[in-house]
Amino acid sequence: MGHGHETHIEQENYQFKGKAKTISLALLVIGLVFSIIGIINIPKDNHHHETESTHVEASHDDKTKHEVANHHKSDFNIHGVDVAHSNEQIYPIEQEHAKPWYTRVYMNLLINGYFLLLIAVCGLFFFALQFIANAGWATAILRIPQAMSTILPIGAIVVIAVFFLDGHNIYHWVHYEHLHLEKGQPGFDPILADKSWFLNSKLAYIFLISIPLVWFLFGKYLRGLSYQEDTEGGNTETGLRFFKKSIRYSAAFTLFFGFTVSILSWIVTMSADAHWYSTIFSIYNFATGWVSAIAIITLFVLYLKRNGYLEIVTDEHIHDLGKFMFAFSIFWTYLWVSQFLLIWYANIPEESVYYYKRWEMPFKINWFLNLGLNFLIPFLVLMTRNNKRNPQILTFVALSILVGHWNDIYLMLIPGTIDKQTGIGFLEIGMPLFFAGLFIYWVLSALSKKGLIPVKHPYIQESANHDVGV
């Protein structure tokens, strides 16, 4: 709402140099060094795991033998594995071969690549959302999610490459698919056979390649419209052409995004526990990426503000970003609890095994970290208005959210794939640092290439005069 006065808005050009460049490059190098130390440190022989996995490999033939040997046969039996009396690995990894040492490296690439992909596409979603919601407050900061979305191809390439190079070690269903087992053969898995119409590598490749590609094309087109508006828009001849076009393409993208982000989360994360499924899983994945994307936007806004850019962005915008972080942390928790609570209450073995694994050490630590970093800190710290307007506190909470959601994705992927063959070491710390450095470098150089403010956007005045009230 204009108050009859018009704010004079000047285009700003961000210079990517000095401290920011040094820090991002330092992160890249430190991350790389840590990763290499981590890779060297991985124990290269893993034969001790094979004995465990053969022990619990209970096919239909030797089931009787197994039963005789086990005096305390309980009712807690999943596919021939006595859950109650097995202190070894349980369902569903037991039938799998032990993973080679390099799978841990690929797992780390997958976690960070997937996180990067989610953040990039959620940045694009943030951009599109402002158009379809007809929202004006965020117009001044729109170039940040725009720049974030440029890194989408890197995330997608990492995920696809990991799937191509080591998918058969990471994903149980890819490995199972290569066995070509028929019904009645030992080791036949009815659940995976039922799911094979969706969980097969052909379809996975189609989705993994086509979905990020379409996202990328949408992103490229929407970014192009926004930059074109800077140079050609704002006069009587073009009118609102770019704006209206952006609304149409944003709506199309959002519709596409809603379905495809679900499909991607099924293939990349949910299928890590191939026997298990959860209907709320995809929106829970989306919430993870979305709240992280907002945390990153906040960090970039605070950084640019501190260095004297984004003159028209005031405490009001930062307050709104704080509210978003607060609200979507609760949203994430709501989905997380919804998934957990139903499974906990129903206690159906096929479902509760997912949490059974995550409730054991060492994942129990990650489990509580998850709740602490992603719910308790944002919820309790950002509750008051003053904290939402305080840059230091916002930075702290944003970093907590980012670490927390990295941990969240770690906890989604690791227990179902390489399980206890990993831990938090140099590799797990170095790889996120490397990706963070890459992300900062990439996004800041994308920001420096074009103007920092969409000066010809029809809502730029509204954004400049934004006021959230008391």
Partner: protein, 194 residues
């Protein structure tokens, strides 16, 4: 507690400036406030962003009230569940511990229910919008349609009423009225011309 001056009927005389344009209204209210006059309230058919700063309102304590209401809901829902499910007649469902995770949904619902109702009730109390109240605040029938009104306490003999009236008219007021209170809900309004 609340400043007595901030009630229409606690002042002997009140000056109303009636406006048509929200932008002019906002800037004039700011000018009146910066002159150090007591603005009793502003009436507008729609929210005007920034008006609370212009009229020098202190931040509302409503969020604190909301927090306390939520806390009450949290404790209340917890006590109810603990007493009924765990203490008085423990009920075991599905071999689950009777105290713990299963409380979460009711905790959540109880907290937001109390917060929502608490904040709405506190809002009505704070704005004196309780049932049956307010004829005295009906200054102009169009204050709920397309007029914005600022009410200024003018009891203080130091106030130069002519200067104030001119300020309001220059700021774009379409009408200026003066109200004289005689007693409870007993008042006379008089138009002031330029």
């Amino acid at each position: 507690m609340i400043d007595k001056k901030l009630f229409l009927d606690k002042n002997k005389t009140v000056i109303f400036g009636i406006f048509e344009n929200p932008d002019q209204f906002l800037s004039t209210v700011g000018k009146v406030h910066s002159k150090g006059l007591d603005i009793i309230d502003c009436y507008s058919p729609f929210p005007i962003h920034g008006i609370e700063k212009a009229m020098g309102l202190k931040r509302s304590l409503l969020p604190v009230g909301a927090f306390l209401a939520g806390l009450l809901g949290f404790i209340g829902a917890g006590t109810l569940q603990w007493y009924t499910m765990s203490y008085d007649w423990p009920i075991v469902i599905g071999n689950k511990p009777s105290f713990g995770v299963s409380y979460v949904p009711v905790w959540f619902e109880g907290t937001i229910l109390f917060t929502a109702f608490g904040i709405a009730i506190l809002f009505f109390i704070r704005n004196k919008m309780l049932h049956g109240k307010m004829p005295s605040e009906r200054i102009d029938m169009r204050q709920t349609d397309d007029r914005m009104i600022v009410a200024i306490a003018s009891d203080n003999p130091a106030i130069d009423k002519e200067e104030l009236t001119n300020l309001l008219f220059d700021g774009g007021a379409v009408e200026v009225k003066e109200r004289t209170n005689h007693g409870y809900e007993d008042f006379t309004d008089a138009n002031i011309t330029k």
